[in-house]
């Protein structure tokens, strides 16, 4: 099924859309009741699975403040394969500059509050997450077509604040180890930057190994240069 999806997705995707994969592995340790520390690594691909997009890793901690309220904080080191950038002359055809793709790091900090409520076997949760991401400046290669030479180009350092709001539904199906879930998440700065729609299932083995398989549609904001993304996610969590 995975192979079928991977084969068909590029064809059905919108011409400006892209497809990729999200693979994650996480270790979770329960310090005491309600208090957990986690360490997660994640790999993303793009360009119809052909190009590595990002590697991320970092710890997080969560605490159940109330039975229905969880607080969490975390840090992630993001290692991004930044897209190439091409600019054109005023005629719109002749090249001006080409900055090839390059690998760069970012540091991301986040804090979140998640409130949840269970209606029979359906759990509704709302997570509000503030995240701050800092990109240090760095020098990258740039080809200046006017001067016909490679030159150093400074990608300036900058920080960015994003508010992420996620509404999620989870179903607990009796006598079934597959728990489906669906969510919608909005990334907002001063405007709506991205919307994520997720549909997936959780599966666990002996309450130690947890697997997650999901489809995520990432709708870029109207002012974004990024393509819309179809992504298949595979996650594994080992709980101590």
């Amino acid at each position: 099924m995975l192979m079928l999806w991977a084969t068909c997705m590029p064809a059905i995707a919108h011409a400006e859309d892209d497809t990729g994969l999200i693979l994650s592995a996480e270790a979770s340790y329960k310090i005491k009741k309600g208090l957990n520390v986690d360490f997660e690594t994640e790999f993303r691909s793009r360009n119809d699975f052909r190009t590595a997009d990002r590697v991320a890793l970092g710890p997080s901690i969560s605490y159940k403040v109330l039975p229905w309220l969880k607080a969490a904080a975390g840090y992630q080191l993001l290692i991004d394969n930044n897209h190439e950038e091409i600019t054109y002359q005023d005629d719109g055809v002749s090249y001006n500059n080409w900055r090839p793709s390059y690998w760069g790091v970012r540091h991301r900090f986040n804090v979140s509050l998640t409130g949840s409520y269970k209606f029979n076997r359906v759990e509704v949760s709302l997570r509000e997450r503030w995240q701050y991401t800092y990109r240090p400046s760095r020098i990258v290669d740039n080809f200046d077509f006017d001067n016909a030479e490679w030159e150093d180009h400074e990608v300036r350092g900058k920080g960015k604040n994003v508010l992420r709001s996620r509404l999620q539904l989870e179903w607990d199906i009796p006598k079934c180890k597959f728990d489906p879930f669906a969510s919608v998440e909005f990334h907002t700065t001063r405007e709506l930057e991205e919307t994520r729609f997720i549909l997936g299932v959780d599966y666990s083995i002996k309450k130690t190994h947890y697997f997650k398989l999901y489809y995520r549609y990432q709708l870029a904001g109207s002012n974004s240069d990024d393509p819309n993304m179809h992504r298949l996610g595979l996650g594994y969590t080992f709980k101590f």
Binding site: F43, N47, R50, Y95, F143, N147
Partner: protein
């Protein structure tokens, strides 16, 4: 067991997908960049012998060029001047010609008509200065003249000044870093003339300019076959004429290093009928400020204020400084034959370097034209570009244009 299979299958899928995600999604720019990073055609000074067609003087007195031919004047009045250090020995006298001496600095008043001055010997502190509205000839016969305070040869007369290079001789002129000026007199180059200069003969002349230009006429300049000129100017233009330049033949090599300096600059019609002219300009854009108004002037291998016509011969120009142009024409350019190569490799900090920049029209109907610009368009034509049919090659890439018939 089944659970382990699921686990391993997932892990294998993750690992496999990660491994295949190693392809770049960048645009393939290799070929495009190679097209932009192409190296220019070689443009270097060339002192080798040039096989030229016979130089046939005009014999029709009605022809406007008749007086440009030294053969068409009688040269029975001769004065010889031999320099030797700080002294000069003068042989012969001509009624109507007076010579004032100050060491090896000679001031000659010619009221006699065509007079031939045969110059030889070496001085490191001497000069020749001519007055009089009569055409005259200077036959350089192994002369080496340096003037630390101005031009080596300065003609204030407005009639034709024939500079004849005696066959097989090597001659040298050099100016000084500072010029001692005389009121209401120009002195614009190491070899300067108010009137037209016509070069002929089969000798060599090197002009070293450190204070002002190399060779300059406030009228026009004609260069005939057989002449070998080398100009090295670290200050102003190499070869410049206010009213036009005609190259019938000869080998002309020019180097300039001054900011804003031009290798060849013609204020009037420039016609190339043969020969080989090569100019290398290394200066950057000259920036001057006067009355709070800033002006910029870029270098150019060839700078034309008027029409340029190339019928035959070889022209090669290279500018390597900031904003330098191979050819900068303020008028039309007409290539009917010959070979024209223009290269600009400089930076574009102040002005844009261009292989060929033409403010007027560019018409080509024969010959060969190559233009290269490392940091901008190789050919910029403000008017119309007319490439007559029948060409063998007409290639245009981002940095090079080649047209060949």
């Amino acid at each position: 067991m089944r659970k382990n299979i699921i686990l391993y299958a997932l892990l294998a899928t993750m690992l496999g997908t990660t491994l295949v995600s190693c392809q770049s999604d960048d645009t393939d720019m290799d070929e495009i960049i190679a097209m932009y990073q192409v190296e220019p055609a070689a443009v270097e000074l060339d002192f080798s012998e040039l096989t030229e067609l016979p130089d046939v003087p005009v014999t029709d007195e009605a022809d406007s060029a008749y007086n440009d031919y030294v053969e068409n004047s009688p040269w029975n009045k001769v004065i010889s001047i031999a320099f030797d250090g700080e002294e000069a020995t003068i042989s012969g006298s001509v009624p109507g010609v007076s010579i004032q001496r100050n060491g090896a600095h000679l001031t000659i008043m010619n009221m006699s008509g065509p007079v031939k001055f045969i110059i030889s010997g070496k001085t490191t502190n001497g000069s020749l200065k001519f007055y009089g509205d009569k055409r005259f000839q200077v036959l350089l016969n192994g002369a080496e003249i340096s003037n630390p305070n101005g031009a080596a040869i300065n003609n204030q007369g407005s009639k034709t000044f024939y500079v004849v290079l005696a066959d097989g001789t090597v001659n040298r002129l050099q100016d000084g870093e500072t010029y001692t000026m005389v009121d209401e007199e120009d002195q614009k180059a190491a070899l300067f003339s108010e009137g037209q200069i016509v070069f002929s003969g089969h000798g060599e002349l090197s002009v070293i300019a450190v204070g002002r230009g190399g060779i300059r006429s406030d009228d026009y300049i004609r260069i005939r076959p057989g002449v070998k000129l080398y100009v090295n100017s670290s200050a102003l233009d190499g070869l410049r004429a206010n009213d036009g330049i005609t190259v019938d033949g000869g080998v002309v090599n020019i180097e300039t290093t001054g900011d804003g300096a031009k290798g060849v600059r013609s204020g009037g019609l420039m016609t190339v009928n043969g020969g080989r002219v090569i100019a290398l300009c290394a200066g950057n854009t000259r920036i001057t400020t006067e009355d709070n108004v800033t002006d910029t002037a870029s270098c150019a291998g060839l700078y034309c204020d008027s029409l340029l016509i190339v019928k035959a011969g070889t022209l090669m120009f290279k500018a390597t400084g900031d904003g330098g142009k191979g050819i900068n024409s303020k008028h039309n350019v007409n290539i009917q034959g010959g070979s024209l190569t223009a290269v600009a490799t400089g930076t574009s900090k102040v002005k844009k370097p261009k292989g060929i920049k033409i403010d007027g029209n560019f018409d080509i109907s024969g010959g060969y034209c190559y233009s290269y610009s490392r940091r901008s368009d190789p050919l910029e034509v403000a008017g119309t570009l007319q490439v007559a049919t029948g060409y063998k090659t007409y290639d245009r890439t981002p940095k090079v244009i080649t047209i060949a018939y």
